[in-house]
Symmetry: C2
Subunit: 437 residues, 2 copies
């Protein structure tokens, strides 16, 4: 069969990995796909770099629109990133009747509904396995592998930078800032790490997973986002004492009233498999009503792991390129005319267990005050640690684990606790998830 011609937009880390793997495994891939897949066109701002990389085996330009408009290109791979030019290029490719493969989670989390609708109207595919958890085929698992299930929830370590930082903070007992500096030195964190450490990247990915798990439109703007930059090493130690690990999780959960969609540092029982995912690795747990829990683990970033996902999409698109659009897997797993209008719940309505840490004067009656405040709001206590005050100190750390409660009641409780004269400073709140059904 005629080879498939790919136009590659951006030959940086992931684009370079895609070129390398597609060439190295050319035979293996065409044995699977049934026809050769080759990158025939490359667009990159740095034309010299692109030329030296491709060694004359692809047409190189600095004009990405020229590639998108080239009638010889069957599939466009968008690896430029960002919301602006990338969006115009993807929309133009679709308008030209070309299939698109992209790793751009930010673009899809924010503009996905518009992009998928345009693709649907044109009868082309927009594939995005590489947008979530790098080389782990989690989009395929959610969209196809678990299609029998009513998915109840999913929770994932979907940002390697923050998981590396949390692993190091725990292993070495170091504060956040020191570990971030080390991560930057090792290349695990960007020079401007905001998107990673503040949870925005994880929220993009959680938004996409929630959409295909529940059959709802992408709604990034409704995702609650908290990063790890304010996390205290003391909380990691206390969590450990209580049998928990702290991970930055992207969580999407189906409730009676709607969908919880949130990214925040989370205590999870240390014995769960996902609690033992260390360093820059990613993992996602999905709970389906038929299958129970399944877990998917692997490298969530890097040139070749991400290329692995890009190329898997290229093979899928190649196979279905000439097939009637109604025979293909829907972009968001559910047929576009059968999407659900289930609402994303405001954070105040979210229910989970909580870890609370506060500093109290070492005087009688303090614990009684705190427990009365919690009891008044029907927040019940699962465990408590009260440390002996350090020599010469008149104050002490109190750590409380609650049973499941509503966020807005915990907000009220924290405000009342902070107003007690015996409490010094703010209450630290970290959410907990049992991840057991």
């Amino acid at each position: 069969m005629k080879p498939i011609n790919v136009g590659l937009l951006g030959i940086g880390t992931v684009g370079g990995g895609t070129w390398t793997v597609l060439n190295r495994n050319e035979e293996e891939i065409s044995r699977r796909a049934g026809r050769p897949i080759r990158i025939t066109h490359v667009a990159d701002r740095n034309v010299d770099h692109a030329r030296s990389f491709t060694g004359g085996r692809a047409a190189v330009t600095d004009d990405a629109f020229a590639v998108v408009n080239d009638p010889d290109v069957d599939i466009v791979v968008e690896l430029i990133g960002g919301y602006t030019v990338a969006k115009d290029l993807v929309m133009q490719a679709i308008a030209n009747g070309k299939h698109v493969v992209t790793a751009n989670k930010a673009l899809l989390a924010v503009h996905g509904n518009e992009i998928f609708a345009a693709a649907q109207a044109k009868g082309v595919m927009v594939a995005f396995e590489a947008a979530v958890a790098g080389g782990i085929p989690i989009i395929k698992a959610l969209r196809e592998g678990l299609s029998a299930n009513r998915i109840q929830w999913l929770a994932g370590i979907i940002n390697g930078t923050t998981n590396f930082i949390l692993s190091e903070m725990r292993d070495k007992g170091l504060p956040f800032a020191d570990v971030l500096a080390e991560a930057q030195r090792l290349g695990y964190a960007e020079a401007d790490p905001t998107f990673d450490i503040e949870g925005v990247d994880a929220a993009h990915k959680a938004t996409l997973m929630a959409s295909i798990a529940f059959g709802i439109p992408v709604q990034f703007e409704r995702c609650h986002i908290e990063g790890i930059s304010k996390l205290d090493a003391a909380d990691i130690r206390y969590a450990e004492e209580l049998g928990y690990r702290i991970k930055l999780l992207g969580i999407a959960k189906r409730k009676e009233a709607g969908i919880e969609l949130r990214v925040h540092p989370t205590l999870i029982p240390a014995k769960r498999l996902i609690a033992n995912v260390e360093g820059a690795m990613n993992a996602v747990v999905v709970w389906g009503d038929a299958v129970g829990a399944t877990l998917y683990y692997g490298k969530g970033a890097g040139a070749e792991p991400t290329a692995s996902a890009v190329i898997a999409d290229l093979v899928d698109v190649t196979r279905l390129h000439t097939a009637d659009p109604k025979n293909r897997v829907p972009h968001l797993a559910f047929q576009p005319d059968r999407m659900s209008d289930l609402a994303i719940l405001p954070l105040a309505e979210v229910e989970t267990a909580y870890y609370l840490r506060l500093t109290a004067a070492d005087q009688p009656g303090v614990l009684a005050d705190i427990t009365r405040i919690l009891a008044d709001l029907s927040i019940s206590i699962d465990a408590m640690i009260q440390k002996e005050p350090a020599e010469g100190e008149a104050q002490t750390d109190v750590v409380i684990l609650t049973h499941v409660a509503k966020e807005k009641d915990v907000d009220t409780a924290i405000a009342r606790i902070e107003s007690l004269a015996s409490i010094k400073g703010r209450v630290t709140r970290i959410r907990m998830e049992e991840l057991n059904g």
Copy 2:
């Protein structure tokens, strides 16, 4: 669109689960598949049971061939098991131009080449996600999710019964026979557990995974199989002391000379995620050259987890039912005219590290004899434990971990060691895998 009519052969555990989940999640599934999928025909030897289960919502018969020959049936789900009648039914369904979904690993591991060739000739699909690791979408991951990769090896805990037994032996320090009896009482082991405990079931699954990982025909007869029935609780303890766990793994590994395909108890480093997969759970690690290691974890058996995989296949087949066969994913991942003739290596040529345990007289020179025998065969020693003899005993346990060596050299070494006058009884040999690349 017109609903898809499914003929279900066998409404036992998995068949019942398939009926239940397909009905419970009817709306969710049709929102994904784009059309309703309904079981319209059921064949079971126990017609009364089938009638009471289906409550008049499907035509029930005890004649499975009548279902396979019924022109109203679009897809046949074969859940009868075994090699004989099941094979005739599957071949007849294919001959009638019907797609087949099956959970029958034994049938496909032994007769897969014939079945897939017939399906290919007829342009129908034979889908078998449920045949390996229950509800974990590992077939889809290997066949589609990792299609960019040259897969180097895979290793899986793919039999829940044996993993449950090994977990209990380790946790409770009990011998194999006691734990097997407990597993039978709890329903984790069959009354006749031979297929599970002797590794045959795991070998069926490893054979299928090897085929789609490497693009080779199914070759069950060349799989080396060792079960766990001879495993001594002492070896589990010694492995623990050395930082390892013992798991029954199905292993398929690409070497220069061919493919290693084997099922046996295996020492793996305790810190690997897969070493911490406990009880009846399953997990598979796959190493691809681009993605590195990915791991897939979940329930490997049970009514609804297995039904989850059966129905995922039904959705896939439903989507591609009217598509040209060349647009579909190949049965064994690689195009049938592009299969490889890479040979499965004889066990003597397999290379791995080894755990050796022997009982030696507590006298000078014994260790020197053993280490000389190993050195003569270029088998180098990684670690050794020599226990003090128990009070009043004149013999002692010696445990040796070797570096990677060839099986045939280790055979020779064991024969020579066993012939030493100072060695009592046989040498216990358990293979080791680092599972790190």
